[in-house]
């Protein structure tokens, strides 16, 4: 299992680096936001490295996008029975610290296997997405409409969000998403799986 072996080497190296750094408590839980983000790892993985196909990877997420998502969940604009209470916990314990914590974690790609055929088809379909999400898929969090980085995210998550945009279920009434939703309505449902695979494959 080469991938696993690579991961293992990376993990061992990380531990050795941390150990070599000296100090009795140089660990991955020392950052100010780390303790506050403990509740998140049950669904989003340790340090935001989500191992599932359903929940997004928070590691390496832009703070601006993270904060917007949390505020939209807490306000009931972005609908999720799971995320609404948890987003209120994030606001309670410190949005800035938690956002900074996840932003500082290195994004590892999703472990979900991708279909090369879907990736190829998705690349073709992605020409209409480039204008906002960029050729590299990394978006632009500095813009007012906070375009997220789609790369390395689990394909199941990307696909479910695309379907929600198309159905109008995500942040209804949000003006900044109007153009996106209009675009989504033009795309057939089957294509979303391909787009998801493509963006998931980008690094």
């Amino acid at each position: 299992m080469p991938t696993l072996y690579r991961l293992l080497i990376g993990y061992v190296s990380l531990i050795l680096i941390l150990a070599a750094g000296g100090g009795a408590s140089a660990g991955p839980l020392d950052a100010p936001g780390a303790a506050k983000a403990l509740a998140c790892s049950a669904c989003h993985g340790f340090a935001g490295a989500s191992p599932s196909d359903t929940m997004p990877i928070l590691a390496g997420m832009s703070p601006a996008y993270f904060k917007k998502a949390i505020q939209d969940y807490a306000g009931g604009k972005r609908l999720s029975p799971e995320m609404e209470p948890y987003s209120k916990m994030v606001l309670q314990f410190g949005l800035d610290d938690i956002a900074a914590y996840f932003a500082s974690q290195k994004r590892q790609p999703t472990p979900i296997m991708l279909d090369p055929g879907a990736i190829a088809r998705g690349k073709v379909a992605s020409v209409q997405c480039v204008i906002c999400h960029g050729v590299d898929g990394k978006g632009d969090p500095t813009r007012a409409i906070v375009i997220p980085d789609l790369t390395s995210q689990p394909p199941g998550y990307l696909r479910s969000q695309m379907l929600q945009f198309k159905a109008g279920g995500r942040s209804s009434g949000d003006e900044s998403l109007k153009a996106l939703k209009a675009l989504m309505r033009e795309i057939p449902d089957e294509t979303f799986a391909d787009l998801a695979a493509y963006y998931s494959s980008l690094r």
Binding site: K36, L38, H44, F46, P51, S52, E82, P85, M89, P111
Partner: protein
């Protein structure tokens, strides 16, 4: 990040070597009983009793927070079998293997996993007895789950081998599934729900859904009769009531605590005198904290559950000993796997801060709880908490609007992630 793969677990758990580059010298159960100090303590050490959703998480997270602290985990079972999702083994939708994992992930974090039972705690000497030997600790985390109050149902103690609870996932789950699958079409499956508090409030009702779905699909003339000691469905009440409308084979009797069982006559008697005959019985007995917590006098005046500090989970009765998971009481949280996992992390970080002389950061757990109401749909309840005046207080509780395949999909993501969080 080490991704958990099931195949990797099962492969690694057998040999114990394999990928264990960070595994410390394996402490295997010796043939002869260990006496005296089993492993003399060199530096700072945390001992964890119980390798379930709380204990395994706590052990791993102490290592993550401070690798200079030695962690020894005492867990008699060589494999971790997940109770969440085990109800789907009864309906045949999942295999027990698919939710069975070894402990090598913890060993890779440097946790020393000892497959032994802690027999007693000596708080003054700061040590845990293991058989004839003992282990010293600086801090102790006790996560012993639940044990059963057999004597509260007349006739149950004597019939324990044949009357199954399947409330600790593993061989009993498989056995109960076998009994259900072998039951005649037209038979009666009786499930009894104990009075609160017990492990996993919605668990019995999810089990009812899975059994009812299985019977509806495979044995259309059979039925499931639910004898609930409580006044009403304890958790996600409206959602379960709605889901049960799809199963005319369910008969639900609340306020019907089972007082007596005659396993030879295959009959149970309720507190009001109803006599109910069964073909298959799933009797979930009343519960209390795991036995070690009772022996060590960590339980309160009710002798059932342990009261703890809401920030550190330190026992209010014995300093230096922390209790997490189902065994605790006093926090307005359910006895769920998600809560045990959350408590494990928060307690681990708190213990590390205490050992390093630092102030403990205030943190509250969160609860996410999914129940599968059929072969493809699930419901959920989510609770968020905060810390107020040193106590855990609920911010909000949210229910899914109904049952859906999307929620079921989310639960699959949840289990992948949390199993990895505990053992990966």
């Amino acid at each position: 990040m080490m991704t958990l793969s099931r195949r990797e677990f099962l492969r690694a758990s057998g040999t114990g070597a394999g990928l264990g580059l960070l595994a410390t010298a394996g402490i295997t159960a010796c043939a002869a009983p260990m006496k005296g100090d089993i492993m003399p303590k060199m530096g700072r050490r945390v001992v964890v009793i119980g390798g379930g959703w709380g204990g395994a998480t706590a052990a791993k997270y102490v290592r993550l927070a401070d690798p200079s602290i030695e962690v020894i985990l005492l867990e008699p079972n060589k494999e971790f079998v997940s109770c969440p999702f085990s109800n789907l083994v009864l309906s045949g939708l999942m295999s027990i293997d698919s939710m069975t994992f070894g402990y090598d992930g913890l060993r890779r974090h440097g946790v020393k996993v000892l497959h032994e039972m802690a027999t007693a705690i000596e708080p003054d000497a700061r040590r845990v007895r293991v058989g004839e030997g003992y282990l010293q600790y600086d801090r102790l985390i006790v996560s012993p789950g639940v044990d059963f109050l057999w004597e509260q149902v007349d006739g149950l103690s004597a019939a324990r081998d044949s009357v199954l609870h399947a409330w600790k996932a593993g061989p009993q789950t498989v056995q109960l599934a076998g009994q259900l699958h072998a039951m005649a079409d037209g038979g009666v499956f009786v499930l009894t729900v104990p009075p609160v508090a017990y492990r996993c409030p919605p668990g019995p009702y999810e089990r009812v859904c899975q059994v009812a779905w299985y019977l509806k699909t495979n044995k259309p003339r059979a039925k499931i009769l639910v004898l609930d000691a409580n006044k009403n469905i304890v958790s996600k009440t409206g959602l379960f009531q709605a889901a049960w409308k799809a199963y005319p084979n369910i008969e639900y009797r609340p306020a019907s605590r089972v007082e007596k069982i005659d396993s030879r006559a295959r009959e149970v008697t309720t507190e009001i005198g109803d006599k109910v005959k069964y073909d298959v019985i799933n009797l979930i007995p009343p519960q209390r904290a795991g036995t070690i917590a009772v022996q060590a006098d960590l339980v309160g005046a009710d002798k059932r559950w342990c009261e703890v500090n809401h920030l550190t989970y330190e026992s209010v009765k014995h300093k230096g000993i922390h209790v997490i998971g189902d065994s605790t009481t006093g926090l307005p949280v359910p006895k769920s796997g998600n809560i045990a996992n959350a408590m494990g992390k928060i307690c681990a970080v708190a213990v590390v801060h205490l050992l390093n002389g630092k102030e403990v950061p205030p943190m509250a757990p969160g609860n996410t709880c999914y129940s599968w109401v059929s072969d493809r749909e699930a419901i959920a309840v989510v609770n968020a908490y905060k810390i107020e005046n040193g106590k855990v207080v609920q911010i909000e509780q949210k229910l899914t609007p109904g049952a859906s395949a999307a929620v079921a999909q989310n639960s699959i993501g949840w289990r992948t992630s949390i199993w990895n969080d505990i053992l990966g």
